[in-house]
């Protein structure tokens, strides 16, 4: 009897809950591995960008979606990761050291930025992180001896034991491989006490405290992990860009990351991936769509930012669970097909709207 129970719990803990999961994720993995053979270089570049954005978004997702802390300054962590990577490589530090140091420095700064989070919540925290991002942008521009300011700096190629990995399929495999590692690490955290504590803080700090969770400590941990992951994505992004300037990491990009999280689906790892697809695909779609618009509209400055903003607002109003939420509904619809009732998804007031910005 006991033994049967234990295998039951094991199933509950496992990442792949059933054969179907194993099959579909296996298929996805094969597709990801074969992509460089199947599609041409341009699309491999796009997929690489997608993997990097998904990683940056995943970092933010852990903070916003799982811990309930809003950051409007996450591009700054990308910037810290990117510049640390470029500066270290410039000084001859090997890639296998520079990459973890870049993530680590971003995490350390994340801890400092997280300090106000111990006192501020909702919109006030959002403003504090925004201020931080503006400061970092300024530092990147003015600290010329290190960052070369607005002159910008060239990012040296990745070389591991004499192999160059900065381009094409090699860099694609590196980025996707790291993304998979980060996803697995996040999933592990979320099925462990630390991840549960983060979610607990999101839903009720007072109850979290009463079950023994040191709220300040876990908020700090969440900030560190989030910033570290986004910083790692930033280091990879440096190589994708090949050339850094302070304008690569603006507030607009921070907002883009937040759009990624909300549109993808707050509080889900899938959401970070779906959101990245959206963020990478939208400019492409806009570029195509521009051909059909009158020129004065198509060339209007800020068109892309405007569309991003509009989509963000529409999602918050109409589909607060994001693309992932919509996907789950569609899947459920087909699995229940003749019996599907609209009430199966009676809209819950989500924490996104009611509690996040209190």
């Amino acid at each position: 009897m006991r033994f049967i129970f234990k295998t039951d719990y094991d199933q509950d803990i496992r990442l792949l809950k059933h054969g179907g999961h194993a099959f579909w994720y296996g298929l996805l993995l094969v597709a990801v591995l074969l992509a460089p053979v199947a599609v041409d270089d341009y699309y491999i570049g796009q997929l690489t960008q997608l993997a990097i954005f998904a990683m940056a978004g995943l970092g933010l997702m852990l903070l916003v979606g799982y811990t309930g802390l809003v950051s409007l300054g996450h591009a700054a962590f990308m910037g810290i990761g990117a510049y640390t990577e470029a500066v270290l490589l410039e000084r001859g530090v090997p890639f296998l050291i520079s990459l973890p140091v870049s993530a680590g420095l971003a995490a350390a700064v994340g801890i400092v930025v997280g300090l106000p989070a111990l006192r501020l919540a909702g919109i006030y925290l959002a403003i504090a992180t925004l201020a931080f991002a503006i400061i970092i942008e300024e530092v990147l521009a003015r600290w010329e001896s290190v960052t070369h300011g607005f002159t910008g700096m060239v990012v040296e190629p990745i070389s591991v034991f004499g192999y160059e990995l900065s381009e094409g399929a090699d860099f694609y495999y590196l980025s996707v491989g790291l993304l998979i590692l980060i996803v697995l690490m996040s999933l592990n955290l979320l099925r462990s006490p630390t991840g549960r504590a983060m979610v607990a803080i999101r839903d009720s700090e007072i109850a979290a405290q009463s079950t023994g969770i040191h709220v300040a400590k876990y908020k700090t941990i969440a900030f560190a992990i989030s910033a570290g992951i986004t910083g790692l994505a930033g280091a990879l992004w440096a190589h994708k860009l090949g050339f850094l300037s302070p304008e690569s990491f603006t507030v607009l990009q921070s907002i883009e990351l937040l759009v990624l999280v909300v549109v993808g689906g707050v509080g889900s790892i899938h959401g970070a991936i779906f959101g990245a697809v959206f963020v990478v695909a939208l400019p492409q779609l806009l570029a195509v769509g521009k051909g059909y618009l009158p020129t004065n509209v198509a060339d209007a400055p800020g068109l892309e930012a405007g569309v991003f903003g509009l989509v963000l607002v529409l999602f918050i109003l109409l589909e607060p669970m994001g693309i992932y939420g919509r996907w789950v509904k569609i899947r459920t619809y087909f699995s229940l097909f003749p019996l599907y009732k609209k009430a199966s998804f009676k809209r819950q007031k989500t924490y996104l709207k009611s509690e996040r910005l209190r």
Binding site: D12, T194, D203, S204, S210
Partner: protein
């Protein structure tokens, strides 16, 4: 040695003396109830014990240890668990996840072993689930194990909150109005559980409750409060018949 003791507790909110020199002792193994009209300061006493507020005077002593200066997140680890008058659950998580959070103080892992989900983390997770399963069985929550809390009826949510407190394996359990919002049948279940918690699990219970028949049914001793002060203490019958208590309830 006393198991639990509140000594001269006091706190003010602005000019209001919400709790004003309250002392009482709880013996190990008993069910001790605090009654009193709305606004008497009962919940505030709980909040002082669980260290949500700092008292302006007095101390709280648990197992001969002064816990008045202990940070709030350490209280669960000392063996004091609680429920809240207006349910405080993790609304967007399942019942199982909520109960697992009750195991937080029993975790034996760190950030890095969790990221890698090392074998001992997995074993620990299985062990937590075994404990949680005992509580699920004890409270009859099997059908709701995988349900999200936000969709549960009030009465069930109340039981889940009790379950989460039990998962911490407390020595002292604080229940703030365990039967409020429950229908008579659910209240009856609650009475049985409180008795089982005392007799079978050996947990000392300190509860705030309005439902006098529940109080009379399960309590060994009762403390009556009004306006932040103690009116009377004794067996349920003694307190119910106490003149000052009757007057306070009649709004005198």
């Amino acid at each position: 040695m006393t198991f639990f003791r509140a000594e001269n507790l006091a706190i003010q909110f602005g000019g209001l003396r919400a709790v004003d020199g309250v002392s009482f002792e709880v013996r190990e193994g008993e069910v001790y109830s605090i009654i009193g009209p709305n606004g008497a300061g009962k919940t505030t006493v709980f909040n002082l014990i669980s260290r949500i507020y700092d008292p302006s005077a007095g101390r709280v002593v648990f197992q001969e240890r002064d816990i008045t200066g202990v940070p709030p997140h350490r209280i669960a680890g000392l063996g004091i668990a609680r429920t809240f008058q207006n349910i405080e659950l993790f609304q967007n998580s399942t019942v199982l996840q909520n109960l697992l959070l009750g195991r937080h103080e029993h975790r034996r892992s760190n950030l890095f072993s969790e990221m890698l989900f090392l074998p001992h983390v997995r074993r620990m997770e299985v062990a937590h689930r075994e404990k949680v399963e005992e509580v699920i069985e004890f409270l009859g929550l099997q059908h709701h194990r995988e349900s999200r809390v936000s969709g549960l009826p009030y009465g069930i949510a109340k039981v889940v909150e009790l379950g989460r407190a039990l998962c911490t394996e407390p020595k002292l359990l604080l229940l703030d109005e365990p039967s409020s919002g429950l229908n008579p049948e659910e209240s009856e279940d609650m009475a049985f559980w409180i008795e089982d918690i005392q007799k079978d699990l050996g947990i000392t219970v300190l509860m705030v409750e309005h439902n006098m028949s529940l109080v009379a049914e399960v309590s060994d001793r009762v403390l009556a409060m009004n306006d932040g002060r103690v009116l009377a203490e004794g067996t349920p019958q003694e307190v119910q018949q106490h003149e000052a208590v009757i007057k306070a309830y009649l709004g005198g």
